[in-house]
């Protein structure tokens, strides 16, 4: 079985052990551990690093691309007049560049979208995380995610043709025109449900089982456990989901460009039409604006405002996600 004695027994010499080089029998001496030069690897690593740097370059590119024309814009228009002016008429003879009308439309569509997406998204998340058996969950989740995969032009078409025209005007006989921020906001809300649901569900699933068991052991039922134990524990994740939902709603373009309307005026009710910031950019792009013209610069000034808003919102969301990842 364990037949042989060691080779070292037969080859043993009586010299005291040293760390000096020895040559294993039958093999050529290999004295150095110095490696081969591998210039190829260095090149590859550099290429990979450059590829990763494209992400940074993109951000820098966005900032420069937005800033340069925006600076041109603010040479012509006071920052104060832009931010707080209540008349948006960039193409008129007596042009006015108050962005408030665009902002009110964005606020309306975003608020309506959140009113739809937050309760429904959270409801779906609690059901999937706390109630659904794995099989039910594995069927429902892809269906829910389909909602996120539908192109926004298709949503826009649906909002305009079905929700606004058929439901609001023909069925409900609401006092509304061809477009409304309500139709755009509602559909946008449904589009955002999967975003809110999936991030909230991640956060709730990350809550340790022991917390739930502790609650059940005290005689609490599922509802009490979900609302009083799991939900508070997952709150920062839920907040992150809501914040990301806000970011999606503010930045969404096609739905509002199609269904919210194209008249820039201060929106005072959900059945009015209105032009959002993104809606303005999309619409202005349809016209032919030369590089360097004030129209072109206006596009980028609004784009910069949009970018800054979503940037702030995104950072809040990233922070919140980090917090719930650290908690457990």
């Amino acid at each position: 079985m364990l037949a042989n004695t060691t080779a070292s027994d037969t080859e043993a010499t009586t010299t005291a052990s040293t760390g000096g080089p020895t040559t294993p029998s039958g093999r050529p001496p290999r004295s150095s551990l110095a490696g081969r030069a591998r210039p190829g690897e260095a090149v590859i690593k550099l290429v990979l690093r450059l590829a990763a740097a494209v992400a940074v370059l993109t951000t820098i590119g966005i900032v420069i691309a937005l800033l340069v024309p925006a600076i041109g814009f603010f040479r012509e228009v006071q920052v104060f007049d832009f931010l707080f002016g209540d008349r948006w008429a960039p193409r008129f003879a007596d042009a006015s560049f108050g962005v408030i009308p665009l902002v009110t439309a964005t606020l309306w569509t975003t608020a309506i979208a959140l009113l739809v997406a937050v309760p429904l998204g959270l409801g779906a998340a609690i059901f999937l995380s706390e109630y659904a058996r794995p099989r039910v969950r594995n069927t429902l989740k892809p269906i829910l995610e389909l909602l996120a995969g539908i192109p926004t032009v298709v949503y826009g078409l649906f909002a305009l043709q079905f929700i606004q025209t058929t439901v609001f005007r023909e069925w409900l006989r609401l006092d509304t025109g061809a477009f409304s921020v309500l139709a755009a906001g509602l559909v946008m809300g449904v589009m955002i449900i999967p975003t809110v649901a999936s991030i909230s569900e991640d956060a709730m699933s990350a809550v340790p089982m022991s917390l739930r068991q502790g609650s059940f052991a005290l005689g609490a039922n599922r509802m009490q456990t979900s609302l009083r134990v799991v939900f508070p524990a997952a709150l920062s994740g839920v907040m992150a989901a809501v914040v990301l939902g806000i970011s999606r709603a503010v930045g969404e373009t096609m739905i509002v460009a199609i269904a919210a309307g194209s008249q820039a005026r201060i929106v005072t009710g959900p059945l009015e039409q209105g032009q959002t910031m993104t809606g303005f950019i999309a619409n202005a792009a349809l016209g032919d604006s030369r590089v360097g013209s004030l129209e072109y610069d206006t596009l980028y000034a609004v784009g910069l405002l949009l970018f800054l808003i979503t940037l702030i919102v995104n950072f809040i969301s990233i922070r919140l996600v980090r917090r719930f990842r650290q908690a457990y």
Binding site: A3, N4, T6, S8, E11, A12, T18, G19, L33
Partner: protein, 284 residues
């Protein structure tokens, strides 16, 4: 093959073939004043050891005593962990493997490693063996011959020779581990480090690996970390016993080498009380 300490290790050891002298006649590796750190945490301290050519050396001791950490620093696998650092010298054929100009890639080729969990690549059996020679640019006359030779040495050839193109994932745990040994020897290393190679195997598979180690030691030097004292007693020529020292201030556990000698001496006549307590099952 029970994991509880045997009260008569002498009996087990009586059948051991490798009766080695007290001194190491032909050292191949030498560990001098080695401390291993992970960041600020000192995992192992003040280790001095020598590994004899074509000998099997076992590193034993309770969990958390740093034996695996030390093993991973012997072929610079520790380099891959952020913040890992080795103080002192580890000499291989007299050359410090941590000195400047030494290529860790070359170190790992010359000092192979077998892991606790069998980790065959998700490729065919043949490609698992051929992988090492290919990536290290070994000049091979016939890859088929090299694959056969490696598998034969790892006592796996007869079982797999008809299914070399099949995925290695389909093999049993014991076969996978022997495949990993075959893979390790395919690049012709001098030393094979084994990190609890039988920890996830059943007793029969464990026995086959132990038999295999006896055959391998004719060509290779083996350093094995094991939790299982009987395994050390059965296979090793020399044994090093480690334990964890708990720092009074911080409660940090640092591994220290307690005693190193021939396996016979460690198991039959330990010099240190801690060794004797561990061997006789009083702790660990």
């Amino acid at each position: 093959m029970a994991s509880a300490p045997d009260n008569a290790p002498m009996h087990l050891h009586a059948t051991h073939p490798g009766q080695v002298p007290d001194y190491i006649a032909r050292p191949i590796m030498r560990v001098e004043n080695v401390d291993v750190y992970y960041g600020d945490f000192r995992a192992v301290t003040e280790v001095n050891l020598e590994f004899g050519l074509h000998e099997i050396t076992a590193l034993i001791g309770p969990s958390g005593c740093g034996k695996s950490t030390l093993l991973r620093s012997l072929n610079r696998m520790n380099d891959l962990i952020d913040g890992a650092r080795v103080d002192g010298e580890i000499l291989f054929h007299g050359e410090n493997i941590y000195s400047k100009g030494v290529d860790p890639i070359e170190v790992r080729r010359r000092i192979g490693m077998v892991f606790q969990k069998p980790n065959p690549f998700p490729k065919s059996i043949y490609d698992n063996i051929a992988y090492g020679p290919r990536v290290t640019g070994m000049k091979v006359e016939s890859m088929d011959d090299l694959v056969e030779e490696s598998l034969t040495r790892a006592a796996l050839w007869d079982e797999v020779k008809d299914k070399l193109k099949q995925s290695a994932i389909g093999l049993s745990g014991g076969q996978q581990q022997r495949l990993c040994i075959a893979r390790a020897i395919s690049v012709r290393p001098d030393v094979i480090l084994m990190d609890e190679p039988c920890a996830s195997l059943d007793p029969i598979a464990t026995m086959r690996i132990e038999d295999l180690m006896q055959e391998l030691r004719e060509q290779y030097t083996i350093v094995i970390v094991t939790h299982n004292m009987q395994q050390a007693a059965r296979v090793a020529d020399r044994t090093a016993f480690f334990t964890a020292q708990v720092s009074e201030g911080t409660g940090a556990r640092t591994g220290v080498l307690v005693e190193y000698g021939t396996t016979t001496q460690i198991f039959e006549d330990p010099n240190d009380q801690r060794t004797e307590d561990y061997i006789s099952g009083r702790f660990g």
